[in-house]
Symmetry: none
Subunit: 434 residues, 2 copies
């Protein structure tokens, strides 16, 4: 039997009880494909020594690369490391450097290390330890039965980082035929996947060592740029050049490089520029404020967030003239403008942002159907206000509204244009008009 | 080797390429648990005859029940049925009734049946056909190697329906001793999983036909009540009685039956009782407002939500006396009370709720460590205010704070007590004190 490219193994009782949807497997397989490694099998087993041993034995004999996630924690249920040692006839060895890192992690978050956390510094003899700066469980690489096995934590953000920073480079070094792969992730907002593909595809056409991948993470789209070269220096130069070409075409749609979300980006920009923000949210219902306050330190720049769901609170808290609402309705350009200007004035913030719209599923009319959104941004230069027509259900409309609003703030802080043409093809579900 | 309860097998290239997250497996395993069948393994293989044959052979020899999903479509890639026939030495037989149903399905949706759809009426000899009113691919049951194998489509809604209507009753009839199973799901908040277990376990002790299952869905805990009886009427009566006993013990912790969240429950109670609500959120940062406005129609009862992240906005928008903040700090009982009373007064709402705390990771002190939360609720009867000490990271502290606040509103509307003893053992990470 020829060896398969890869097997992906996830471990945990909660998976087999159906308590959580295991999205790690699809993530791992997608990343492996970038190295041209196809996954032949996904297997999940409970925290059971015999089951783990069996699947590790099978996988190590049948695949070139085995990615394992889960069971590296400090509790009694977490037995992956000791079962791996037993399966491949290795003893467990405590790694002093890993122990110091776990201790440092606890010190950093201001908690005391429990004694059983020390077991997370134990690894099978001969293992190569994989750093985990985001958590207490380091991973490890083992060569056994002719396979490369990687053991990683099950916590998604720890797993994602370890895969990109520790695992893929090692796979590349061992199996990549001497070449070096480098990749970058660009988070974009404002254009659909197929349009992005259409805009960018020719940049890599005919080059077997360059690749663009597209993936939706509503309401954003992620563009992964992957290049290959003989040497690291050349790969990095090639990556920088290709990322530069991508940015030259869709630069103002790129929110961030890496996994950062728009709330982090906007927060950082506000701090850097010493600007403050206030929100008057109607149809977004507090979601913009909640996203911004997910970021530590947001009290420095978020001066106020008002959820003015009722007309009375628009009048009372924002000083929107009652006649304006009576004449134009709460979902209208004059009211959106008055809300943004009102919250800016009341709070003394540099920027005021307002949303008013029909979130659905009820409350729509022929003139203002469900999904109608008026967005306004007021600052010292004046007020910008445009209408969008969203087409999703309530929850997605709120998400899209919050992303649009935060992107307006980003654009304003970066000096990028905000016009009704800014989002010409917002995945077909929002087209600006003034 | 003794047989496992169940294996779950999903088939499709798209799974192994990581193009979609396979949520079918967790769904299937969760449902099997209701019949007391534990899943021992999840396996996914591509649309490849050898791989499918191997996993079907393994699974049928090692599990009592094998649930297979995917590969029943009309295309060339869909080979599950013919591989199943080959694996178990059966010929393929066209089923005239299934063919008629497929033709009827196309007629109903006004489309012409393509010739290759006819292959979806082919089944291994001896198979029991499973109806699929939502799509063109019927499923089938096969007995082989001592196992019951069920083959289902991969499209989630078709799969879900087929499982509930066709598969579980057959498993029940074969393995369940002929009885009928009924279950209910209770969503609880305020007590940890192990304490719930401790409080309730004796209700089903010694009764092989009654079972309680516990599962955390942070910050809630779900209690699944499962009973079995000879006849449907008896099963329903038994279920109602057991649910009644559970409620008698932990009634005020039960937020809802079914999948409803606290924002829906609170919204419904506010409508039913004709009451209105206003929020002054500091450490919860708008999350309570955002959750409430996820519910359609929330503008009827949510009069205002203020995210008063800065001290200035606490003073300006809520009328909190500046001296109070200077004297006690923003995270303090007097300020929490003043915020709740201030937002109630300003908005004219029946209930005013306020949160102020240290969300983390920075900003803690010895006296007010990260996770300190003051929660206050003001209404015509006065103001309740207690302190909690949360122990999670920022995101989970926000979630927990919003759940506590909404639960206080629920309790107030239902006339249930709110005291510092309300949550004596909040999963060990929050203990009220006045």
């Amino acid at each position: 039997m020829t060896r398969a490219g890869a097997w992906v193994v996830t471990i945990g009782d909660e998976l087999l009880r159906g308590e959580i949807v295991d999205s790690n497997k699809s993530f791992l397989s997608e990343r492996l494909l970038q190295l041209e490694l196809e996954t032949a099998r996904h297997v999940s087993v409970p925290d059971d020594a015999a089951a783990i041993e069996e699947v590790l034995r099978d996988a190590s004999r049948r695949a070139r690369v085995v990615l394992v996630s889960g069971g590296l924690g400090p509790t009694r249920d977490d037995i992956t490391t000791e079962v791996a040692a037993k399966t491949f006839g290795r003893s467990l060895v405590r790694d002093p450097r890993a122990l110091a890192e776990i201790q440092a992690f606890f010190a950093q978050v201001g908690r005391e290390m429990a004694p059983n956390n020390a077991k997370q510094a134990d690894f099978p003899e001969g293992a190569d330890v994989l750093a985990n700066p985001l958590g207490t469980a380091p991973g490890f690489m083992l060569e056994a039965e002719g396979a490369l096995l990687f053991f990683m934590p099950g916590v998604p953000r720890e797993l994602y980082r370890m895969l990109d920073h520790e695992v893929l480079p090692r796979i590349q070094a061992r199996l990549g035929g001497g070449g070096v792969v480098r990749s970058a992730l660009l988070r974009t907002f404002g254009m659909g996947e197929s349009n992005l593909d259409h805009m960018l595809a020719d940049l890599v056409r005919g080059d077997p060592d360059a690749q663009l991948g597209f993936r939706t993470q509503f309401p954003d789209n992620l563009v992964r740029v992957v290049v290959r070269a003989r040497e690291a220096v050349a790969a990095e130069a090639k990556l920088a050049a290709l990322v530069g070409q991508v940015r030259a075409r869709i630069g103002d749609l790129v929110i961030a490089e890496g996994e950062e979300g728009l709330e982090q980006v906007v927060g950082r920009l506000l701090v850097e520029r010493g600007r403050t923000l206030a929100l008057a949210e109607s149809c977004s219902g507090g979601l913009i404020a909640s996203r911004l306050t997910d970021v530590p330190g947001s009290s420095r720049y978020l001066l106020a967030g008002l959820v003015t769901y009722s007309n009375a609170s628009k009048v009372r808290e924002l000083g929107v003239p009652r006649e304006l609402i009576e004449q134009h309705g709460a979902v209208s350009e004059p009211v959106a403008r008055a809300m943004a200007e009102g919250v800016r004035r009341a709070s003394g913030a540099d920027l005021g942002v307002a949303t008013t719209g029909v979130a659905g599923p009820d409350g729509g009319s022929a003139e203002k159907p469900v999904g109608t959104l008026w967005l306004a941004l007021a600052d010292a230069e004046g007020t910008v206000c445009y209408r969008y027509q969203l087409m999703n259900e309530r929850w997605r409309n709120k998400q899209m509204t919050s992303e649009l609003a935060l992107d307006w703030v980003r654009r304003r802080l970066l000096g990028l244009p905000i016009t009704d043409r800014t989002f010409p093809r917002l995945r077909g579900d929002a087209g600006g008009r003034g």
